[in-house]
Amino acid sequence: MTSELWTENLKPGEHWSGVLRRGTSLRITALEPRANVAAIMYNYESLPERYNLADTLKAQHTAFLTAGCVCYSDMGRILCSITADSCGWHDTLCGLSDASLVAEKFGAGSFQQRRNEFYKNGRDSMLNELGKYGLGKRDLVANINFFSRVTADADGALHFDEQHCRAGDHVELRFEMHTLLVLSTSPHPLDPQPHYRPRPVALRAWVSGAASATDPCRLRCEENQRGFRNTEMMYLP
């Protein structure tokens, strides 16, 4: 791809953060089955503006994310659009694992025992990255869990789909705003697998340009057309 900007691979359990500019796209690829990539996004130019679970779901009348959806901030604007998706469902309801959950499920896994393969958890991984930008636990908002599918029955009881993510599954995000993206590859908190086994993922960024007038994410619903309008107002000359 001639417009490629960079590639990086994340090791199992690794946490990561970086800035993706408006008009940049990022492909996240699961290098093994059963990957999970927890993500939170912030407006890099005004960090109090961040991913808003409720506004994302309400505007698009959905309880999960897939291609055609956009991720809204709390300011009626769009952080990124999901422009491609091979697996059809990404969870955004179930949050992060934490230290007590990981210890309860997998036992002790300290650095002293395991060196850099020590057991990480989603919350502490996010706090690690957020601290680099002057952010902390006040800024831990509901996250996305890319590659994970959790459904709810009529009574609201949750079910984790263990077969959902295959090796090679990928999702593409086109950033509509200069965005601080924070990632953790810790396992999904409801994944019942008995052993601590996070999976590696690949990142690839390229220059894609902003959404066109006929972009499928823009045209998904009238709500998204207004969301793009609100976002584009911020980048007028």
């Binding site: 409720a54 709390d74 309801l93 902390g136 831990l140 509901a142 709810a152 207004r226 609100n230």
Partner: protein, 217 residues
């Protein structure tokens, strides 16, 4: 504005140490000490009560919708639900609920999200986030928009289908229904008695609520 329906909670009974009416569309803040009971009464029925809780001793610890959902393995709140914080602690539990189901996915309305969801011309309408922001600003300079994560909507009905659909549905509450919570730590309570007029969360008619606090024991 202060009319009570016959089956509403007992008014100014000796056991309640605080008994207040919050008019439609207004914010309320208060403190509930560890062990105390908080009762929120839907006086006239189908009134969404947007609610957040903070650890009164460290407001950086606050209610987390996703930690609550993950820990109970269920999307909806009702009797027995433990309300978890962003660092995993149980802040309060729901000990009584004669409504049956409460939402924690629908979030709070804001001027900005109203422009997306309804029309640009809706920006001027009053919203829960304006209530939240003003109440926080008047309460404490250390609290601001960063302290507004996904909230609880007591008495609001947002069903999720097995296929992943999500809609604001007609309410399942009724006049006099209430939810009662026991605090497990000293909590600061932030409420917006929702002013939304564009969807059925308030049956298109926002109405007052009653907030009661009962001593520990």
């Amino acid at each position: 504005m202060n009319a009570r329906t016959p089956n509403a909670a007992p008014a100014r009974d000796a056991v309640w140490i605080s008994d207040q009416i919050v008019p439609a569309g207004e914010p309320w803040m208060g403190t509930v000490a560890a062990g105390q009971l908080l009762r929120i009464v839907d006086l006239e029925g189908n009134q969404a009560v947007d609610t957040l809780f903070y650890n009164a001793r460290d407001t950086g610890e606050r209610y987390s919708a996703v930690d609550t959902i993950r820990a109970q393995g269920n999307l909806y709140l009702t009797t027995g639900s433990a309300l978890r914080s962003n660092i995993g602690a149980t802040m309060l539990t729901i000990v009584e609920d004669n409504c049956g189901r409460h939402d924690t996915l629908g979030g709070a309305c804001s001027a900005e999200s109203n422009t997306v969801r309804y029309a640009l011309e809706k920006r001027h309408m009053h919203s829960c986030r304006d209530n939240f922001l003003l109440a926080l600003a008047q309460h404490d300079d250390r609290l601001d928009k960063r302290d507004l994560p996904s909230n609880i909507n007591f008495f609001m009905n947002v069903p999720v289908t097995p296929e992943g659909g999500l809609e604001f549905a007609d309410g399942i509450s009724a006049a006099g229904r209430y939810v009662q919570l026991r605090a497990h730590m000293d909590v600061l309570v932030l409420i917006s008695n929702c002013p939304q007029l564009n969807n059925p969360c308030n049956a298109y008619n926002p109405t007052p609520i009653q907030i009661l606090i009962r001593a520990a024991g």
